[in-house]
Structures are given as structure tokens and as C-alpha cells.
Amino acid sequence: MVPISYYILLSAAIFSIGLFGVLTRRNALMFLISIELMLNAANLNFVAFSTLHGNLTGQVFSLFILALAAAEVAVGIGIILVLQRNFSGIDVTKAVTLRW
């Protein structure tokens, strides 16, 4: 069993890569995918800590996160489709009519 801190470091890396994706990419779908990554990082954290503490709260909660991530993707894609219809393209920096 590898020491838990490695897993935490790994999940932090995944989280940062997800955040990196969110900050750099202009495509709405990429935004969505990066957020998926971040949620997975959190899941990994939960599972790792669950073994650390020996209780199953973390694992059960990660199930919930899984479900809600899926729900979020569903709604997200719905919105992206509507975006596509209105702005003919899912480039996030195009949709800037509301500002200042």
C-alpha cells in the first residue's frame, strides 16, 4: 500500500491540470471536460482519505459526486447546445454581449 500522501499529491496534480484546462482553453466543451477532471481528483482524494481513516464515508460520498458530475455534464451539454444554436460556435470568448 503506497503511503497516502502520494495519492493526495496525485489528486492535487490532476486537480491543477483540470484547473489549467479551465483557464487556458476557450472551448466550452473543454471547460466541461476539465471540470470533470477536477471532480475526479476530488473523488480520488475522498477514496484515499477513506482508507486513511478506515471509514466508508469518503467512498460513499464519492459515489454521490460521481452521480452529480454526470448530472452536471448533462445540463452542461444542454447549455452548450443552446449556445451553439445562438452563437454558432462554442467559443466562450465570443459570447461577451453582457459586460461592464
Partner: protein
Amino acid sequence: MSDLVLLLPQLCILSAALLVLIYNTIFRKSTKLTILTLIAVVGSFCSIASAIFLFISQSPTVTIFGDQLVVDGSSLFFSVIISSVTLLVSIASYNYIKPLQNQAEYYSLLLLAAAGMGLMASANSLVIAFVAMELASLPSYALVTYLKNNEGSTESGLKYFLIGALSSAIFVYGSSLIYGATGSLGFTAISESILNTPSLSGLLGIGILMVIGGLAFKTTSVPFHFWAPDAYEGAISPVSAFISSASKAAGFILAFRILIEAFPLDVVSSIGLDWALAIQILAVLTMTLGNFAAALQENVKRMLAYSSIGHAGYVLIGLAALSGSQDTLVIGASMMHLMIYGFMNTGAFLFIALAEHWNVGPTFKDYRGLGSKAPLVSIAMTVFLFSLAGLPTGGGFLTKYVLFMAAVGAGFWWLAAIGAINSALSLYFYTRLVKSLWVDPPISDLNISSKGIPVGIYVAILIAAVVTILSLPFFSPFADFAMAAANILIS
């Protein structure tokens, strides 16, 4: 069975939501909208009634479902706020969405979001908090993008969704770190484990701050506020009223509960994280940004959006001044402010809805002379605006000054001073709208009479106005409810 009775307020709204869905699938009749509105109204009304009844009869402080949910004074107080906002919004939406599509989905999403917020109010563990937040947010993303072929609506929906998703990810990651440090997710369990087995303080600190970040999104405090102006401006007005009042209130009660029960200041400061300082920074930034950005706005709805950010800043003062000596008064004051702010802000946005219904233009100039055209509603709007600004046309005056008083009492006179400067500036832009309503000469092409009086929006605005005005002379019920709730929360 007794547990479910305690959850009656949330259950009423939930059953109304499901009823709306069921009704929509079964009947295809034409008069569908009135029935839908009726269900929504009855649902939210009985939720308010049950919450008040529960508080008066039992004033419970009990945790249910394996202390995942707690039903106490503050949860009932906030479910009253949320349900009354839902009531007003659903009454007003009747006229607003009459010409639009997907009416049933609109109402169901509205009620589901309200249910989510109600559950946030009585969450007693990070699990419930996260799930309830998701339940509250997902429908709101859809509600903001309700007008599918309107650019503004889609753009604001997109921004709201993306920032919302990002914040919920941050929230979850934060809670994972907290779980890592304390081994449990229930608030009481967390505080006990921090107290007696403090470990991994670094991770715990980052976890707490990231959770605060997630909550900051919900309560539109800086730097997680960027979505708010665009979302409120883009969405249809009843929705922006709903989000800016109800979801903000839900966000705050969750923040109160997490920061007071899970991470009580005396416990947490031992590990070197005095989150009160973080909240103070957030409060000052939010107030200043909210009020200063609103000063030169051309679009009325955007001005109201920024003003609601400003008010979030005022409520944050309550949270920030916790480390002083007047804790119950401070928290009570911010709760009172949230209650009255709920009514004022919803009323103001519904007035914008009314203006949109009469397709009055979006800028201050287009509102010129509305006072003479629709005097009754404009008087109501003037009451809201001046009450928001802190003048004694309504309860907003009392709540704002009680908040400043509590801040001074707790020793944070500089917070009250910054609040005072901001509220003085807020008087400037609220009066700009009052000026265009009453003072400026009316522009010619404002023909309202042809459109007729939208009964729903009128009724909603007048209810909100009556409550705001009466809350000045008859402020004691609000005050006692809030102080009792704060008392339970603190002790």
C-alpha cells in the same frame, strides 16, 4: 414519521414541484398555466405556513436522519425567506411566461431549486450541503438559460453554469481535504475532531478556505461574484429576482452553519486559521465593488445586480464581526437584513419584470416618466429603492442600521464606517432610478395602457411593498424570530 413533519416546509415545495411535473405530463389542456401557478403558489404558501407554525409551536432544535439534517430556528427562518421569495416569483411569473414555451418545466425547475435551497438551510453535514447545493444550482442554470433563442439569456446561462461548475468543484475538493483532516463530514463531528485531535492543519486550512470559496460563489461575494451581474442581467427578471434573493439567502445560511458549527472561531483559531479575517476581506471587497460598480451603470437591471452584490457585502459584515463580543446580535442582524432584503430585492426585480413586460427599454432614460404612467407600482418601487438605500420608507432602514450598530458594538467600527460610505454611495444610484421615475419629464413613446395591467406581477410587487413598509413599524416579529434563530445557532 415525526422527522418528516419537521421537514414539512421543504416537503411542501418538493411535492408541489413533482405535482407540477405530473400534472404537465397528464393534462394537455389549454388553461394549464393557471393551474401550474396555483400549485406553485399553494406549495410555497403552505411551506411558509408550516415553517412559521413549526417555529411557534415547537421551536425545535433537533438533528434528524442520523444528524445529517438539522431543523432549528435558523433553518425555519431561512426556509420562510426562500419560500416567500418563491411565492412572489411564482405569482409574478404567471404573466411573464404566459407567451413563452416550456411553462411547466419553468415552474418545476423553480420549485426544485427552492426545495434545494430549503434543504441547504437545514444541512448539517458537508454531504447534504453539497448535494443540496447541486439540487439548487442545476435547475437555476437551466432557469437562467430559459429563453433559448435569446443571446443574452444563453450567454448568462453559460457563464453561470461554467463558474458554478468550477466553484462546486472547488467546494468538493475543499470538503475532501476537510474529510482528510478530520475523518468525517458532519459539522458537529468535524468540530469535535478538530478540537481533540488536531492534525494536518495545513490541509484543513486550505479545505476550509476552498469551502468558503464555494459558498462565496453562492452568496456572490468577491472574487466569486463575476457571474452575478451578467447572470442577473441576462436572465428573465423573475428568475434573477429568485436567484438574487433566495439562492443568496440559502448560501448565507449554509455559510453561517458551516463557519459557526463546523469551524467555531475559538476552535479553529487554535490551528492558526482565523477565518473571520477572510470574511472581513471578502465583506469589504464585496461591498465596495458592488456599490462602486453600480454607480455609473446605464442598464437598470445591471445596476440592481451590482446592488445585490453590495447587499451581500453588508450581510458579510455580520459574519465578519463574529469575533467581537456581540455574536447573537451580529448574526441576528444579518439574518434580519437577509429577510427584509429578500422582499425588497424581489420587489425591485419584479418591477423590472413589469417594465420588461411593457417592453420599456433597459436603460435609465427609458424609465423616464414611468411614475406618472403607473403611479401605484412606481411608489412601490420607490419604497424598495429607498429602503435598499437605508432610508426609513421600509424595514431595510432598520436592518441596515442594526447591522452597522452590531458591527460597532462588536468593536468593528471601521467595518461599519466602510458600510456607511458604501450605503451613502448606494443612495446616489438608487436615487438615479427614482429621479428618472418621478423627476425627469416623461418620454413620449411610453404607451403602457395598451398592454393592460399584468395582474400577477402587480399582486407580487404589492405584497412585497406592503411587507417592506409594514416591516418598519411592526418590526418586532421579524426581530424576535431572527434573534431566536441566531441564539440557537450561536449556542
